[in-house]
Amino acid sequence: MGKAIVVKKKAGTAKAGIKKASGALSVEVAGIKFKNPVLTASGTFGYGIEFAPYTDLNLLGGIVVKGLSLRPREGNPGPRIVETPCGMLNAIGLQNVGVDAFIKEKLPLLKKYKTRVIANIFGETIEDYAEVASRLEDAGGVDAIEVNISCPNVKKGGIVFGTDPKEAFKVISKVRSSTGLPVITKLSPNVTDIKVMVRAVEDAGTDAISLINTLTGMVVDVEKRRPVLATATGGLSGPAIRPVAVRMVWQAASVAKTPIIGMGGIMTAKDALEFIIAGASAVQVGTANFVDPDAAAKIVSGIEDYVKRHSTTVRELIGSLKM
Protein backbone atom coordinates (compact mmCIF):
# COMPACT_ATOMS: atom_id res chain seq x y z
CA MET A 1 0.00 0.00 0.00
CA GLY A 2 2.63 2.41 1.09
CA LYS A 3 4.44 1.67 -2.09
CA ALA A 4 1.38 2.17 -4.23
CA ILE A 5 0.87 5.59 -2.74
CA VAL A 6 4.41 6.55 -3.48
CA VAL A 7 3.97 5.49 -7.07
CA LYS A 8 0.76 7.44 -7.40
CA LYS A 9 2.39 10.48 -5.92
CA LYS A 10 5.25 10.20 -8.32
CA ALA A 11 2.94 9.96 -11.28
CA GLY A 12 1.05 12.93 -9.98
CA THR A 13 4.20 14.93 -9.54
CA ALA A 14 5.36 14.08 -13.02
CA LYS A 15 2.13 15.32 -14.57
CA ALA A 16 2.07 18.43 -12.43
CA GLY A 17 5.69 18.80 -13.40
CA ILE A 18 4.81 19.00 -17.04
CA LYS A 19 2.13 21.53 -16.40
CA LYS A 20 4.32 23.55 -14.08
CA ALA A 21 7.22 23.33 -16.48
CA SER A 22 5.48 25.29 -19.19
CA GLY A 23 5.07 28.09 -16.69
CA ALA A 24 8.55 27.31 -15.45
CA LEU A 25 9.99 28.29 -18.81
CA SER A 26 8.23 31.58 -19.37
CA VAL A 27 10.06 34.86 -19.13
CA GLU A 28 9.26 38.52 -19.59
CA VAL A 29 11.48 40.80 -21.60
CA ALA A 30 10.73 44.39 -22.60
CA GLY A 31 7.23 43.98 -21.26
CA ILE A 32 6.50 41.00 -23.50
CA LYS A 33 5.79 37.53 -22.16
CA PHE A 34 7.63 34.71 -23.90
CA LYS A 35 6.46 31.15 -23.29
CA ASN A 36 10.07 30.10 -23.16
CA PRO A 37 13.38 31.95 -23.35
CA VAL A 38 14.50 30.53 -26.72
CA LEU A 39 14.35 32.81 -29.76
CA THR A 40 15.98 32.40 -33.14
CA ALA A 41 18.59 34.98 -34.12
CA SER A 42 18.25 37.44 -36.95
CA GLY A 43 19.75 36.39 -40.27
CA THR A 44 19.89 32.74 -39.32
CA PHE A 45 16.21 31.92 -39.56
CA GLY A 46 15.10 33.74 -42.68
CA TYR A 47 11.63 35.19 -42.26
CA GLY A 48 10.73 32.23 -40.06
CA ILE A 49 8.36 30.48 -42.43
CA GLU A 50 11.20 28.82 -44.35
CA PHE A 51 11.77 26.63 -41.29
CA ALA A 52 8.20 25.35 -41.04
CA PRO A 53 9.05 22.14 -42.97
CA TYR A 54 11.86 21.34 -40.53
CA THR A 55 10.68 22.31 -37.08
CA ASP A 56 7.56 23.24 -35.17
CA LEU A 57 7.62 27.02 -35.03
CA ASN A 58 4.96 26.96 -32.31
CA LEU A 59 7.52 25.54 -29.91
CA LEU A 60 9.73 28.60 -30.07
CA GLY A 61 9.68 31.47 -27.61
CA GLY A 62 10.08 33.85 -30.51
CA ILE A 63 11.44 34.42 -33.97
CA VAL A 64 13.69 37.33 -34.87
CA VAL A 65 13.52 37.83 -38.61
CA LYS A 66 16.31 38.77 -41.02
CA GLY A 67 17.37 42.41 -40.71
CA LEU A 68 14.97 44.73 -42.54
CA SER A 69 15.79 48.03 -44.21
CA LEU A 70 13.68 50.76 -45.71
CA ARG A 71 14.37 49.66 -49.26
CA PRO A 72 15.18 46.15 -50.47
CA ARG A 73 18.91 45.39 -50.45
CA GLU A 74 20.71 43.09 -52.80
CA GLY A 75 23.60 42.30 -50.50
CA ASN A 76 27.27 41.68 -51.18
CA PRO A 77 28.93 39.80 -54.00
CA GLY A 78 30.11 36.27 -53.21
CA PRO A 79 31.81 34.46 -51.67
CA ARG A 80 29.75 35.57 -48.70
CA ILE A 81 30.54 32.83 -46.21
CA VAL A 82 33.48 30.71 -45.14
CA GLU A 83 33.76 28.07 -42.48
CA THR A 84 36.28 28.70 -39.68
CA PRO A 85 37.35 26.57 -36.67
CA CYS A 86 34.10 25.92 -34.78
CA GLY A 87 32.49 28.83 -36.54
CA MET A 88 31.85 30.70 -39.75
CA LEU A 89 32.30 34.15 -41.20
CA ASN A 90 29.49 35.83 -43.08
CA ALA A 91 29.35 38.95 -45.18
CA ILE A 92 25.82 38.73 -46.51
CA GLY A 93 25.61 42.49 -46.77
CA LEU A 94 22.22 42.62 -45.09
CA GLN A 95 20.35 41.40 -48.18
CA ASN A 96 16.62 41.62 -47.48
CA VAL A 97 13.31 42.17 -49.18
CA GLY A 98 12.76 45.55 -47.54
CA VAL A 99 10.30 46.43 -44.84
CA ASP A 100 7.29 46.85 -47.14
CA ALA A 101 7.62 43.47 -48.83
CA PHE A 102 8.15 41.92 -45.40
CA ILE A 103 4.91 43.40 -44.15
CA LYS A 104 3.01 42.42 -47.27
CA GLU A 105 4.40 38.99 -48.08
CA LYS A 106 6.08 37.46 -45.02
CA LEU A 107 4.42 38.82 -41.92
CA PRO A 108 0.89 37.52 -42.67
CA LEU A 109 2.26 33.96 -42.92
CA LEU A 110 4.43 34.29 -39.84
CA LYS A 111 1.63 35.75 -37.70
CA LYS A 112 -0.22 32.44 -37.89
CA TYR A 113 2.22 30.72 -35.59
CA LYS A 114 1.96 30.79 -31.82
CA THR A 115 5.26 32.47 -31.22
CA ARG A 116 6.51 36.01 -30.75
CA VAL A 117 7.64 37.90 -33.83
CA ILE A 118 10.50 40.35 -33.49
CA ALA A 119 11.54 42.47 -36.43
CA ASN A 120 15.26 43.16 -36.66
CA ILE A 121 15.93 46.49 -38.37
CA PHE A 122 18.87 48.50 -39.60
CA GLY A 123 19.56 51.59 -41.67
CA GLU A 124 22.25 53.68 -43.20
CA THR A 125 20.96 56.81 -41.52
CA ILE A 126 19.14 57.50 -38.29
CA GLU A 127 16.09 58.55 -40.27
CA ASP A 128 16.00 55.20 -42.07
CA TYR A 129 15.93 53.34 -38.78
CA ALA A 130 13.07 55.47 -37.51
CA GLU A 131 11.03 55.07 -40.66
CA VAL A 132 11.37 51.27 -40.70
CA ALA A 133 10.37 51.10 -37.04
CA SER A 134 7.30 53.21 -37.57
CA ARG A 135 6.13 51.22 -40.61
CA LEU A 136 6.44 48.00 -38.63
CA GLU A 137 4.32 49.39 -35.82
CA ASP A 138 1.64 50.46 -38.28
CA ALA A 139 1.62 47.00 -39.85
CA GLY A 140 0.59 45.25 -36.64
CA GLY A 141 1.57 41.71 -35.69
CA VAL A 142 5.12 42.55 -34.73
CA ASP A 143 5.74 42.11 -30.99
CA ALA A 144 8.96 44.07 -30.71
CA ILE A 145 11.71 45.66 -32.70
CA GLU A 146 15.35 44.64 -32.43
CA VAL A 147 17.66 47.40 -33.59
CA ASN A 148 20.88 46.19 -35.17
CA ILE A 149 23.37 48.99 -34.61
CA SER A 150 26.37 47.13 -36.04
CA CYS A 151 26.01 49.13 -39.24
CA PRO A 152 27.94 52.07 -40.62
CA ASN A 153 26.30 55.49 -40.51
CA VAL A 154 26.82 56.67 -44.09
CA LYS A 155 26.19 60.28 -43.10
CA LYS A 156 28.99 60.11 -40.53
CA GLY A 157 31.73 58.81 -42.80
CA GLY A 158 30.81 55.20 -42.15
CA ILE A 159 31.37 55.17 -38.39
CA VAL A 160 29.58 52.16 -36.99
CA PHE A 161 26.62 53.17 -34.76
CA GLY A 162 27.29 50.26 -32.44
CA THR A 163 30.89 51.09 -31.61
CA ASP A 164 30.30 54.72 -30.68
CA PRO A 165 28.15 55.38 -27.62
CA LYS A 166 27.06 58.82 -28.90
CA GLU A 167 25.86 57.50 -32.25
CA ALA A 168 24.19 54.57 -30.53
CA PHE A 169 22.40 56.94 -28.19
CA LYS A 170 21.14 59.02 -31.10
CA VAL A 171 19.80 56.18 -33.17
CA ILE A 172 18.08 54.46 -30.26
CA SER A 173 16.55 57.73 -29.01
CA LYS A 174 15.12 58.31 -32.46
CA VAL A 175 13.75 54.78 -32.84
CA ARG A 176 12.36 54.99 -29.32
CA SER A 177 10.37 58.09 -30.21
CA SER A 178 9.22 56.69 -33.56
CA THR A 179 7.42 53.62 -32.30
CA GLY A 180 5.28 52.43 -29.44
CA LEU A 181 6.62 48.91 -29.87
CA PRO A 182 9.11 47.57 -27.34
CA VAL A 183 12.65 48.35 -28.50
CA ILE A 184 15.49 45.87 -28.08
CA THR A 185 18.95 47.16 -28.92
CA LYS A 186 21.38 44.64 -30.35
CA LEU A 187 24.94 45.44 -29.40
CA SER A 188 28.15 44.83 -31.27
CA PRO A 189 30.91 42.95 -29.41
CA ASN A 190 33.63 44.84 -31.27
CA VAL A 191 34.06 47.38 -28.49
CA THR A 192 36.49 47.97 -25.64
CA ASP A 193 33.86 48.25 -22.93
CA ILE A 194 30.40 46.80 -23.45
CA LYS A 195 29.18 48.46 -20.26
CA VAL A 196 29.57 51.89 -21.81
CA MET A 197 27.33 50.82 -24.69
CA VAL A 198 24.76 49.36 -22.31
CA ARG A 199 24.50 52.66 -20.46
CA ALA A 200 24.27 54.68 -23.67
CA VAL A 201 21.35 52.72 -25.11
CA GLU A 202 19.58 52.53 -21.76
CA ASP A 203 19.86 56.30 -21.47
CA ALA A 204 18.31 56.45 -24.93
CA GLY A 205 15.33 54.49 -23.67
CA THR A 206 15.82 50.96 -24.93
CA ASP A 207 13.52 48.39 -23.30
CA ALA A 208 16.00 45.53 -23.52
CA ILE A 209 19.43 44.69 -24.84
CA SER A 210 20.51 41.78 -26.99
CA LEU A 211 24.10 40.69 -27.57
CA ILE A 212 26.35 39.65 -29.11
CA ASN A 213 26.32 40.36 -32.80
CA THR A 214 29.26 38.88 -34.71
CA LEU A 215 32.94 39.57 -34.07
CA THR A 216 34.73 40.95 -37.11
CA GLY A 217 37.08 38.42 -38.68
CA MET A 218 38.94 37.54 -41.84
CA VAL A 219 40.17 34.41 -43.61
CA VAL A 220 42.94 34.55 -46.21
CA ASP A 221 43.19 32.12 -49.11
CA VAL A 222 46.94 31.53 -49.03
CA GLU A 223 47.06 30.04 -52.51
CA LYS A 224 45.32 32.99 -54.16
CA ARG A 225 46.68 35.50 -51.61
CA ARG A 226 43.25 37.06 -51.37
CA PRO A 227 40.66 37.28 -48.63
CA VAL A 228 38.19 34.42 -49.07
CA LEU A 229 35.23 36.78 -48.67
CA ALA A 230 34.58 39.27 -51.44
CA THR A 231 34.31 42.00 -48.81
CA ALA A 232 37.58 40.94 -47.11
CA THR A 233 36.14 40.85 -43.59
CA GLY A 234 32.97 39.28 -42.24
CA GLY A 235 31.20 38.47 -39.00
CA LEU A 236 32.33 35.51 -36.91
CA SER A 237 29.57 33.40 -35.37
CA GLY A 238 29.17 29.91 -33.95
CA PRO A 239 30.52 28.07 -30.91
CA ALA A 240 34.01 29.57 -31.37
CA ILE A 241 32.72 32.91 -30.01
CA ARG A 242 30.65 31.56 -27.14
CA PRO A 243 33.13 32.29 -24.33
CA VAL A 244 33.40 35.91 -25.49
CA ALA A 245 29.61 36.18 -25.71
CA VAL A 246 29.01 34.73 -22.24
CA ARG A 247 31.58 37.11 -20.77
CA MET A 248 29.97 40.13 -22.45
CA VAL A 249 26.47 39.13 -21.36
CA TRP A 250 27.77 38.76 -17.81
CA GLN A 251 29.44 42.18 -17.95
CA ALA A 252 26.37 43.78 -19.51
CA ALA A 253 24.07 42.20 -16.92
CA SER A 254 26.25 43.56 -14.12
CA VAL A 255 25.31 47.13 -15.04
CA ALA A 256 22.08 46.83 -17.04
CA LYS A 257 18.74 47.99 -15.68
CA THR A 258 16.88 46.42 -18.60
CA PRO A 259 16.67 42.71 -19.41
CA ILE A 260 19.30 41.07 -21.55
CA ILE A 261 18.91 38.62 -24.41
CA GLY A 262 22.10 36.61 -24.80
CA MET A 263 23.49 34.90 -27.87
CA GLY A 264 26.66 33.76 -29.57
CA GLY A 265 27.47 30.15 -30.34
CA ILE A 266 24.54 28.50 -28.59
CA MET A 267 24.27 24.94 -29.89
CA THR A 268 22.67 23.11 -26.95
CA ALA A 269 20.48 23.70 -23.91
CA LYS A 270 23.61 23.67 -21.76
CA ASP A 271 25.05 26.52 -23.77
CA ALA A 272 21.80 28.48 -23.48
CA LEU A 273 21.83 27.96 -19.71
CA GLU A 274 25.32 29.43 -19.48
CA PHE A 275 23.90 32.71 -20.79
CA ILE A 276 20.82 32.61 -18.59
CA ILE A 277 22.80 31.89 -15.45
CA ALA A 278 25.25 34.65 -16.42
CA GLY A 279 22.37 37.12 -16.53
CA ALA A 280 20.35 36.74 -19.74
CA SER A 281 16.55 36.71 -19.48
CA ALA A 282 16.29 35.02 -22.87
CA VAL A 283 18.60 33.69 -25.54
CA GLN A 284 18.81 33.59 -29.30
CA VAL A 285 19.99 30.65 -31.35
CA GLY A 286 21.82 31.57 -34.55
CA THR A 287 24.33 29.54 -36.52
CA ALA A 288 23.05 26.35 -34.89
CA ASN A 289 19.93 26.61 -37.09
CA PHE A 290 22.09 25.92 -40.14
CA VAL A 291 23.62 22.83 -38.60
CA ASP A 292 20.27 21.54 -37.38
CA PRO A 293 17.09 23.34 -38.42
CA ASP A 294 15.39 21.85 -35.36
CA ALA A 295 18.11 23.07 -32.96
CA ALA A 296 16.09 25.81 -31.24
CA ALA A 297 13.18 23.49 -30.47
CA LYS A 298 15.60 20.91 -29.05
CA ILE A 299 17.12 23.60 -26.85
CA VAL A 300 13.67 24.45 -25.48
CA SER A 301 13.15 20.85 -24.44
CA GLY A 302 16.66 20.59 -23.00
CA ILE A 303 16.02 23.63 -20.82
CA GLU A 304 12.74 22.10 -19.75
CA ASP A 305 14.59 18.96 -18.65
CA TYR A 306 17.09 21.04 -16.70
CA VAL A 307 14.53 23.12 -14.80
CA LYS A 308 12.62 19.95 -13.93
CA ARG A 309 15.73 18.16 -12.76
CA HIS A 310 16.69 21.13 -10.60
CA SER A 311 13.08 21.89 -9.52
CA THR A 312 13.47 25.47 -10.55
CA THR A 313 12.23 27.96 -13.14
CA VAL A 314 14.03 29.86 -15.83
CA ARG A 315 13.14 33.08 -14.03
CA GLU A 316 15.00 31.86 -10.96
CA LEU A 317 18.00 30.89 -13.04
CA ILE A 318 18.47 34.32 -14.62
CA GLY A 319 21.65 35.83 -13.22
CA SER A 320 21.95 33.09 -10.60
CA LEU A 321 25.70 32.85 -11.06
CA LYS A 322 27.55 32.43 -7.77
CA MET A 323 30.96 33.98 -7.62
Binding site: G43, T44, F45, G46, E50, F51, P53, Y54, K66, R71, P72, R73, E74, G75, N76, P77, G78, P79, R80, I81, V82, E83, P85, C86, G87, M88, N90, I92, Q95, N96, V97, G98, G238, P239, M267, T287, N289, F290, V291, D292, P293, D294
Partner: protein, 256 residues
Amino acid sequence: MEARSREILYNEGVAPGYFRLGLRWKGAGIRPGHFVMVRVSDGLDPLLRRPLGVYRVGHGTVELLYAVVGKGTEILSKKMPGESVDLLGPLGNGFTLPAKGHRAVLVAGGMGIVPLYMLAKKVKKSVLLFGARSAKEASVADDFKGLGINIKIATNDGSVGKKGLVTDLLQDEIRPGDIIYACGPVGMLKKIATIAAHAGVSCQVSLERSMACGIGVCLGCAVKASSHKEASNRNYRMVCSEGPVFDSEDIDWERL
Protein backbone atom coordinates in the same frame (compact mmCIF):
# COMPACT_ATOMS: atom_id res chain seq x y z
CA MET B 1 12.59 17.59 -46.54
CA GLU B 2 13.85 16.89 -43.07
CA ALA B 3 17.10 16.41 -41.20
CA ARG B 4 17.35 12.75 -40.42
CA SER B 5 19.82 10.08 -39.53
CA ARG B 6 20.30 7.51 -42.31
CA GLU B 7 21.94 4.14 -41.94
CA ILE B 8 25.09 3.61 -43.94
CA LEU B 9 24.90 0.46 -46.09
CA TYR B 10 28.31 0.84 -47.70
CA ASN B 11 31.01 3.48 -48.02
CA GLU B 12 33.53 2.16 -50.49
CA GLY B 13 36.44 3.59 -52.36
CA VAL B 14 35.79 3.62 -56.12
CA ALA B 15 39.13 5.05 -57.11
CA PRO B 16 41.77 6.62 -54.84
CA GLY B 17 40.05 9.47 -53.06
CA TYR B 18 36.57 8.69 -54.48
CA PHE B 19 33.85 7.05 -52.46
CA ARG B 20 30.38 5.64 -52.96
CA LEU B 21 28.17 6.09 -49.94
CA GLY B 22 25.06 3.92 -49.84
CA LEU B 23 22.28 4.88 -47.45
CA ARG B 24 19.00 3.34 -46.41
CA TRP B 25 16.39 5.88 -47.43
CA LYS B 26 12.83 5.07 -48.36
CA GLY B 27 10.55 7.30 -50.38
CA ALA B 28 13.13 9.97 -50.82
CA GLY B 29 11.27 11.71 -53.70
CA ILE B 30 14.52 12.68 -55.34
CA ARG B 31 14.67 14.19 -58.83
CA PRO B 32 17.72 14.58 -61.07
CA GLY B 33 19.84 17.48 -59.82
CA HIS B 34 18.77 17.32 -56.19
CA PHE B 35 21.37 17.46 -53.45
CA VAL B 36 21.58 16.83 -49.71
CA MET B 37 23.37 18.58 -46.83
CA VAL B 38 25.44 16.03 -44.97
CA ARG B 39 26.48 16.44 -41.34
CA VAL B 40 29.83 14.72 -41.34
CA SER B 41 30.43 14.98 -37.59
CA ASP B 42 28.38 15.33 -34.42
CA GLY B 43 31.13 17.53 -33.05
CA LEU B 44 31.62 21.25 -33.47
CA ASP B 45 34.38 21.14 -36.04
CA PRO B 46 33.82 20.95 -38.95
CA LEU B 47 30.70 22.87 -38.03
CA LEU B 48 28.73 23.16 -41.25
CA ARG B 49 27.03 20.49 -43.29
CA ARG B 50 28.55 19.56 -46.64
CA PRO B 51 26.47 19.73 -49.83
CA LEU B 52 26.63 16.55 -51.92
CA GLY B 53 24.62 15.66 -54.98
CA VAL B 54 22.52 12.53 -55.14
CA TYR B 55 24.09 10.06 -57.52
CA ARG B 56 21.74 7.08 -57.75
CA VAL B 57 18.49 5.97 -56.16
CA GLY B 58 17.58 2.30 -55.62
CA HIS B 59 14.80 0.47 -53.85
CA GLY B 60 14.82 2.15 -50.46
CA THR B 61 18.40 3.25 -50.95
CA VAL B 62 20.26 6.33 -52.09
CA GLU B 63 23.84 6.46 -53.29
CA LEU B 64 26.14 9.47 -53.06
CA LEU B 65 29.45 9.69 -54.86
CA TYR B 66 32.07 12.01 -53.50
CA ALA B 67 35.70 13.02 -53.68
CA VAL B 68 37.80 13.53 -50.57
CA VAL B 69 39.00 17.12 -50.87
CA GLY B 70 39.15 18.44 -47.32
CA LYS B 71 38.46 17.62 -43.72
CA GLY B 72 34.71 17.15 -44.06
CA THR B 73 34.84 14.61 -46.86
CA GLU B 74 37.83 12.99 -45.14
CA ILE B 75 35.76 12.37 -42.00
CA LEU B 76 32.88 11.10 -44.11
CA SER B 77 35.14 8.63 -45.90
CA LYS B 78 35.99 6.96 -42.58
CA LYS B 79 32.40 6.13 -41.65
CA MET B 80 31.57 2.45 -41.53
CA PRO B 81 28.52 0.48 -42.62
CA GLY B 82 26.08 0.27 -39.72
CA GLU B 83 26.90 3.77 -38.52
CA SER B 84 24.54 6.48 -39.58
CA VAL B 85 24.85 9.94 -41.00
CA ASP B 86 22.53 12.91 -40.64
CA LEU B 87 21.19 14.21 -43.96
CA LEU B 88 19.05 17.20 -44.79
CA GLY B 89 17.22 16.93 -48.07
CA PRO B 90 16.48 16.38 -50.86
CA LEU B 91 17.16 20.03 -51.62
CA GLY B 92 17.26 22.41 -54.55
CA ASN B 93 15.60 22.53 -57.91
CA GLY B 94 16.71 19.84 -60.31
CA PHE B 95 17.15 19.81 -64.04
CA THR B 96 14.29 20.57 -66.39
CA LEU B 97 13.96 17.60 -68.74
CA PRO B 98 14.31 18.29 -72.47
CA ALA B 99 11.17 18.85 -74.46
CA LYS B 100 10.40 16.15 -77.01
CA GLY B 101 12.68 16.06 -80.03
CA HIS B 102 15.60 17.69 -78.32
CA ARG B 103 18.74 15.71 -77.67
CA ALA B 104 20.33 16.03 -74.24
CA VAL B 105 24.09 16.52 -74.20
CA LEU B 106 25.36 15.82 -70.70
CA VAL B 107 28.74 17.32 -69.92
CA ALA B 108 30.58 16.46 -66.71
CA GLY B 109 33.95 17.42 -65.29
CA GLY B 110 35.19 15.23 -62.45
CA MET B 111 32.66 14.90 -59.65
CA GLY B 112 30.33 16.97 -61.82
CA ILE B 113 29.19 13.58 -63.09
CA VAL B 114 27.11 13.06 -59.95
CA PRO B 115 23.85 14.87 -60.76
CA LEU B 116 23.90 13.56 -64.34
CA TYR B 117 23.30 9.88 -63.55
CA MET B 118 19.65 10.25 -62.63
CA LEU B 119 19.23 12.60 -65.56
CA ALA B 120 20.84 10.09 -67.93
CA LYS B 121 18.30 7.50 -66.84
CA LYS B 122 15.47 9.79 -67.88
CA VAL B 123 16.81 11.13 -71.17
CA LYS B 124 17.21 8.28 -73.64
CA LYS B 125 19.24 8.75 -76.84
CA SER B 126 21.49 11.29 -75.29
CA VAL B 127 25.24 11.62 -75.03
CA LEU B 128 27.53 11.95 -72.01
CA LEU B 129 30.77 13.84 -72.39
CA PHE B 130 32.96 13.18 -69.38
CA GLY B 131 36.19 14.98 -68.61
CA ALA B 132 38.31 13.14 -66.08
CA ARG B 133 41.79 13.69 -64.71
CA SER B 134 42.78 10.07 -65.01
CA ALA B 135 41.68 6.60 -66.09
CA LYS B 136 40.71 5.91 -62.49
CA GLU B 137 38.37 8.85 -62.34
CA ALA B 138 37.05 8.03 -65.80
CA SER B 139 36.07 4.55 -64.62
CA VAL B 140 33.03 6.08 -62.92
CA ALA B 141 31.52 6.39 -66.40
CA ASP B 142 31.16 2.58 -66.42
CA ASP B 143 28.07 3.08 -64.28
CA PHE B 144 26.44 4.77 -67.27
CA LYS B 145 26.90 1.76 -69.54
CA GLY B 146 23.57 0.08 -70.13
CA LEU B 147 21.61 3.30 -69.72
CA GLY B 148 21.44 3.55 -73.50
CA ILE B 149 23.54 6.67 -73.50
CA ASN B 150 26.47 7.35 -75.78
CA ILE B 151 29.60 7.91 -73.67
CA LYS B 152 32.64 9.96 -74.76
CA ILE B 153 35.55 10.56 -72.48
CA ALA B 154 38.38 13.04 -72.39
CA THR B 155 41.24 12.68 -69.94
CA ASN B 156 44.04 15.09 -69.13
CA ASP B 157 46.64 12.41 -69.76
CA GLY B 158 44.92 10.66 -72.65
CA SER B 159 44.94 7.38 -70.74
CA VAL B 160 41.31 6.85 -71.63
CA GLY B 161 39.33 8.49 -74.42
CA LYS B 162 40.57 11.64 -76.03
CA LYS B 163 43.51 13.48 -74.57
CA GLY B 164 42.33 16.96 -73.75
CA LEU B 165 39.39 18.82 -72.38
CA VAL B 166 35.77 17.82 -72.28
CA THR B 167 34.91 21.20 -73.81
CA ASP B 168 36.80 20.12 -76.95
CA LEU B 169 34.49 17.11 -77.14
CA LEU B 170 31.52 19.42 -76.74
CA GLN B 171 32.67 21.69 -79.60
CA ASP B 172 32.61 18.68 -81.93
CA GLU B 173 29.39 17.23 -80.57
CA ILE B 174 27.02 20.14 -80.32
CA ARG B 175 24.23 20.51 -82.89
CA PRO B 176 21.32 22.91 -83.20
CA GLY B 177 18.37 21.84 -81.06
CA ASP B 178 20.53 20.11 -78.46
CA ILE B 179 20.14 20.93 -74.80
CA ILE B 180 23.29 20.98 -72.72
CA TYR B 181 23.26 19.77 -69.10
CA ALA B 182 26.57 20.54 -67.44
CA CYS B 183 28.21 20.17 -64.06
CA GLY B 184 31.85 20.59 -63.07
CA PRO B 185 34.47 23.20 -62.26
CA VAL B 186 33.59 26.86 -62.83
CA GLY B 187 36.18 27.30 -65.58
CA MET B 188 34.65 24.46 -67.53
CA LEU B 189 31.09 25.71 -67.05
CA LYS B 190 32.08 29.18 -68.18
CA LYS B 191 33.48 27.77 -71.42
CA ILE B 192 30.40 25.64 -71.92
CA ALA B 193 28.15 28.65 -71.44
CA THR B 194 30.06 30.42 -74.19
CA ILE B 195 29.89 27.42 -76.50
CA ALA B 196 26.14 27.15 -75.88
CA ALA B 197 25.62 30.83 -76.56
CA HIS B 198 27.58 30.66 -79.82
CA ALA B 199 25.76 27.53 -80.92
CA GLY B 200 22.46 29.07 -79.89
CA VAL B 201 21.46 26.05 -77.85
CA SER B 202 19.95 26.09 -74.41
CA CYS B 203 22.15 25.07 -71.50
CA GLN B 204 21.47 24.13 -67.88
CA VAL B 205 24.36 24.21 -65.43
CA SER B 206 24.55 22.89 -61.89
CA LEU B 207 26.65 25.24 -59.77
CA GLU B 208 28.67 24.77 -56.57
CA ARG B 209 29.00 27.41 -53.86
CA SER B 210 29.98 27.21 -50.21
CA MET B 211 26.80 26.70 -48.25
CA ALA B 212 25.84 27.10 -44.62
CA CYS B 213 22.14 26.23 -44.55
CA GLY B 214 21.21 24.69 -47.92
CA ILE B 215 17.64 25.91 -47.55
CA GLY B 216 17.74 29.51 -48.69
CA VAL B 217 17.90 31.28 -45.34
CA CYS B 218 21.52 32.22 -44.67
CA LEU B 219 21.85 33.92 -48.08
CA GLY B 220 25.43 32.72 -48.16
CA CYS B 221 25.49 30.89 -51.50
CA ALA B 222 24.64 33.85 -53.73
CA VAL B 223 25.67 34.08 -57.37
CA LYS B 224 25.17 37.15 -59.50
CA ALA B 225 22.41 37.00 -62.06
CA SER B 226 23.24 38.17 -65.58
CA SER B 227 22.18 41.73 -66.28
CA HIS B 228 19.06 40.80 -68.25
CA LYS B 229 17.84 39.12 -65.07
CA GLU B 230 18.63 41.94 -62.70
CA ALA B 231 15.93 43.60 -60.66
CA SER B 232 16.03 46.10 -57.82
CA ASN B 233 16.91 43.63 -55.09
CA ARG B 234 17.07 40.46 -57.12
CA ASN B 235 20.54 40.70 -58.54
CA TYR B 236 21.64 37.59 -56.69
CA ARG B 237 20.36 34.05 -56.89
CA MET B 238 20.72 31.50 -54.09
CA VAL B 239 22.37 28.37 -55.43
CA CYS B 240 20.79 26.15 -52.78
CA SER B 241 17.15 27.17 -53.11
CA GLU B 242 16.92 28.74 -56.56
CA GLY B 243 19.50 26.35 -58.03
CA PRO B 244 21.77 24.49 -58.01
CA VAL B 245 20.61 24.19 -61.63
CA PHE B 246 20.39 27.43 -63.60
CA ASP B 247 19.95 28.38 -67.21
CA SER B 248 23.48 29.36 -68.22
CA GLU B 249 22.13 32.63 -69.68
CA ASP B 250 20.86 33.71 -66.28
CA ILE B 251 24.30 33.73 -64.65
CA ASP B 252 26.79 36.58 -64.71
CA TRP B 253 29.83 34.46 -65.57
CA GLU B 254 32.24 37.36 -65.28
CA ARG B 255 31.53 37.71 -61.57
CA LEU B 256 31.46 34.04 -60.70
